[in-house]
Amino acid sequence: MAELTVNRVLDADLATVFDFITKSEHLLEWWGPEGISLPDRELDFTKTGPWHSVMRRPDGSEMKVSGQVTHVKAPSSVGFTWAWHDETGKRGDESHVTISLRAAAGGGTEFSLHHQELVSEEAAAAHNAGWTSSVRKLEKMAAREEQESV
């Protein structure tokens, strides 16, 4: 149900981009928002297995996210599970991230990231039955309510 896709065209060839999204030394250059540091991490998407990262914000607060690398298909795709930990360290609900790469027609690399909350098959079926239009209706309702409450 909750899912998002982010597309970019990156100015580098396919093999280079694949290195940057899988190899630890490169992941450390871009993983997380600007200004964060990674005091504790196991970030290697070149092989399946566990990964985690603790991100420290400039104000010293930390957030942890972890998961399993589920597939690595050089040079076109990598997939991993994803879950935030709460302040007690307890791991929250799991979602799944898939990154797909393709050589772009005019040079460079098409990058596509799909992040999806994991839901049951039944929920997925309900989703297909018209969830999107329902969400739009609810968004309108919510917007209206917010306006009225202002």
Partner: protein, 109 residues
């Protein structure tokens, strides 16, 4: 954001999903009105309504003898928040990835 799994699991049932759809399309309805969404008993409908209420997906108000139900927009806003939070996370990370690639090209060149 914390109640999102509950929202998903509550909506992950076809009868409950149908109930929410009807409430969206028709506004406030009673348990009796909602019984028509599936070929099930009144107690079964009550159980589904209770699950939806506990998950914060619908609201209930009592009007004389009747219980009336509406959709809670905040439940859906929770789904939006999940999407926006993660979109921002990835967009800002990808800005840095693009920069790192540019820097590499410069260093190599």
């Amino acid at each position: 954001m914390t109640r999102l799994p509950e929202t998903f699991s509550a909506l992950g049932d076809t009868t409950r999903f149908a109930i929410v759809e009807r409430l969206l399309n028709e506004g406030e309805l009673s348990a009796g009105d909602l019984q028509a969404v599936a070929d099930i008993s009144a107690p079964a409908i009550s159980r589904h309504l209770k699950v939806l209420r506990n998950a914060g997906v619908i609201n209930q108000r009592v009007d004389k003898q009747r219980r009336l139900y509406t959709v809670e927009p905040k439940a859906i806003m929770g789904i939006n928040a999940w999407i926006e939070y993660h979109r921002k996370f990835w967009e800002t990370s990808l800005d840095r990835l693009a920069k790192a690639l540019k820097k590499k090209e410069k260093d190599d060149g």
